[in-house]
């Protein structure tokens, strides 16, 4: 390896051989072109990063970041000694786990079933229809959930015939109810759309393997268990690991539209807690920023950890 690279002829355009001065002379315009983008990223991403100091302040909107008093770790102490934040943390973890554990299997089963269909037109039609929920606005989806699971909703009626009490299911604060609603709503939204990756992985499996197995008399089930699943296992593992990190960051967007004061005990999560502390009726910006920082650091740790783990499973699978 080292030998071959040493033997390679020296490329006159090798980046390392060009001095910064020459590079600037040649590519000035390229750098100028990047300036608007840099300004955009600085305003929307880098400047807010300095906002973390708010987490260490008794922040008031009137005084601003420079006028507010620093209080050290007081906000964090307040967070971890109160119930609301710990409750939100617990719910975030539980909802992430629900989404991952319950939401993972249907996607695989769906993709496997779809890959067995020979009729191309049927397959494409089902696929397209299953993508559609992903494009329905979150506001509309949550409204549909409220409508279908409300006191007089069709799904409530179905559950009532199964022997469950008639009620507005979204106002039910008993433990698994809200979590299940949130999970199944997520499955409805992303089943088809989430299967795109898997479908392409299955399509990429060497066709000769399948043919050989079929000629040798393997049944459909045998082919799935012995060929398809082992072949897509690395991708499954990778997307699972990375989804852990991503779901911890993103869980809560739907909850914000779905929850109500009665269900805070089971529905409140870091995202909604942070939001409510900042923009709710009794805001405490410092506390909100502390919660935000905690969530953000945890998300980063999980993302980096997930990425390393994904790289161990499959070196091509890393996100960065």
């Amino acid at each position: 390896m080292a030998k071959s690279s040493a033997a390679m002829p020296v490329n006159p355009h090798d980046k390392n051989r060009v001095t910064w001065k020459k590079d600037w002379a040649r590519n000035k315009t390229v750098y100028f072109v990047f300036i608007p983008v840099a300004i955009y990223i600085i305003i929307t991403h880098y400047l807010p990063m300095f906002g973390v100091v708010m987490a260490f302040q008794n922040f008031s909107l009137a005084k601003g970041v420079f006028g507010s008093r620093f209080v050290g770790f007081d906000n964090f102490v307040e967070l971890f000694t109160g119930d609301a934040f710990l409750n939100a943390f617990k719910n975030t973890a539980i909802m992430s786990a629900f989404t991952l554990v319950i939401g993972f299997l249907p996607g695989i089963v769906y993709a496997l079933m779809l890959s067995e269909v020979r009729n191309k037109k049927f397959k494409r039609t089902v696929q397209m229809i299953s993508y559609l929920p992903n494009f329905v606005a979150p506001v509309v989806v949550t409204n549909l959930v409220k409508l279908f699971l409300g006191n007089d909703g069709p799904l409530t009626a179905l559950l009532t015939t199964l022997g469950l009490p008639q009620q507005n299911w979204l106002a039910n604060a008993d433990p698994p109810v809200f979590w299940l609603i949130h999970t199944f709503m997520g499955i409805w939204q992303s089943l088809g759309f989430g299967s795109i990756m898997l479908m392409s992985a299955i399509a990429g499996i060497n066709g000769d393997l399948m043919e050989a197995a079929a000629i040798d008399g393997a049944t459909c089930m045998q082919r799935i268990m012995k060929i398809t699943i082992p072949c897509i296992a690395p991708i499954l593992g990778m997307s699972f690991v990375l989804n852990v990190a991503v779901s911890f960051r993103t869980i809560g967007g739907n909850v914000l539209l779905l929850y109500m004061p009665q269900t805070y005990s089971v529905a409140d999560c870091l995202y909604t807690y942070t939001h409510r502390m900042a923009f709710g009726s009794a805001p405490d910006m410092g506390l909100s920023a502390a919660s935000n920082l905690f969530q953000s650091v945890l998300g980063t740790v999980l993302l980096i950890g997930g990425n390393i783990l994904a790289g161990k499973i499959n070196s091509d699978a890393r996100l960065f």
């Binding site: 590079d23 990063m49 049927f122 409508l147 409805w188 900042a278 909100s288 953000s296």
Partner: protein, 301 residues
């Protein structure tokens, strides 16, 4: 030759299908049809409800497979009378066009800069990747916008939705796929960077670029959060999604009253249809683009 062989094998497989295989096949098709039905049913219910007679709809409990009561266009007539909804649609269209335009410019510029073979390319990439790892979050962003005087300003929605690190990297990837020889030939012929960007590279990468535009369109058409934070009290700047949210939330309490006004119930369905149907109808034409975009993005989102 090869394809001929393949079909032969497949035909052979069909001949050897056992009874069990037939049953499995049938079950698979049945399950998939069910997935399709479940995916469509909620929106179908909304569509049919919007054509329903408002009064019968109120007492109807179930999924509307067909319009409930006598089919009417009353719901849509009510939209025309409600000026606030027109404001909502106007704002949404304004935000969508603004976001896509700003995003397009930024993605072309950023993608081009990142795709060129410069000494500073690594630095530029690092500059972007840091934002993927560390984010200030909602509140610090709000404070920055506040100090820039943008809270309550329509531009803030466009600014925050225009592009993301991911789109910029994606743009760079699609620009890099354009053959270097084409670019170099144009450069030797005396074309400047800007000219190469818009006249040589962009047309060749337009397929990939379209995916980003499509994603931006869906996100900004369906967006509600930024508006709810930055212009919570100013209804004249609300996008349609916030009006839908307000209307449906109000209706939840409203329906508990003794004599609910059915027209307010009916109009919510009509509004959802008008806000959702365009996307639903357009998406099937872009199936390949949607899939390509998702594959490029990997597990993102």
């Amino acid at each position: 030759m090869r394809t001929g062989k393949k079909t032969k094998v497949k035909e052979g497989m069909v001949e050897h299908l056992t009874v069990g295989n037939h049953i499995a096949n049938f079950l698979i098709h049945a399950c998939l049809i069910m997935v399709a039905v479940v995916s469509l049913l909620p929106m179908w219910h909304v569509l049919m409800s919007s054509f329903s007679d408002g009064f019968s709809l109120l007492s109807f409990k179930g999924v509307a497979v067909l319009p409930v009561g006598k089919p009417t266009l009353e719901g849509y007539r009510l939209i025309f009378r409600d000026s606030s909804l027109w404001i909502g649609y106007g704002n949404t269209i304004f935000y969508v066009i603004g976001t896509i335009s700003l995003g397009f410019v930024l993605n072309v510029l950023g993608g081009y800069a990142l795709s060129q073979d410069t000494k500073g390319r690594g630095l530029m990439y690092a500059f972007l990747f840091i934002t993927m790892l560390f984010s200030g979050g909602v509140i610090p962003t709000y404070m920055v916008m506040n100090s820039l005087g943008l809270v309550g300003n329509r531009f803030v929605i466009i600014l925050l939705g225009a592009t993301q690190t991911f789109y910029l990297v994606f743009a760079a990837k699609s620009f890099s796929a354009v053959p270097v020889s084409t670019v170099e030939a144009a450069r030797i012929d005396g074309a400047g960077h800007i000219r190469v960007m818009f006249q040589i590279v962009l047309p060749q990468a337009r397929g990939m670029f379209f995916i980003t535009v499509l994603n931006t369109f869906v996100a900004s058409w369906n967006g509600w959060y930024e508006a709810s934070v930055y212009m919570a009290s100013d209804k004249t700047k609300w996008p349609i999604q916030l009006f839908i949210n307000e209307m449906t939330n109000a209706n939840v309490n409203f329906l508990e009253t003794a004599t609910p006004n059915y027209s307010r119930y009916l109009i919510q369905f009509a509004v959802i249809v008008v806000a959702t149907l365009p996307i639903m109808l357009a998406m099937p034409f872009f199936q390949d683009k949607i899939e390509a975009g998702q594959l490029q993005g990997g597990v993102k989102g």
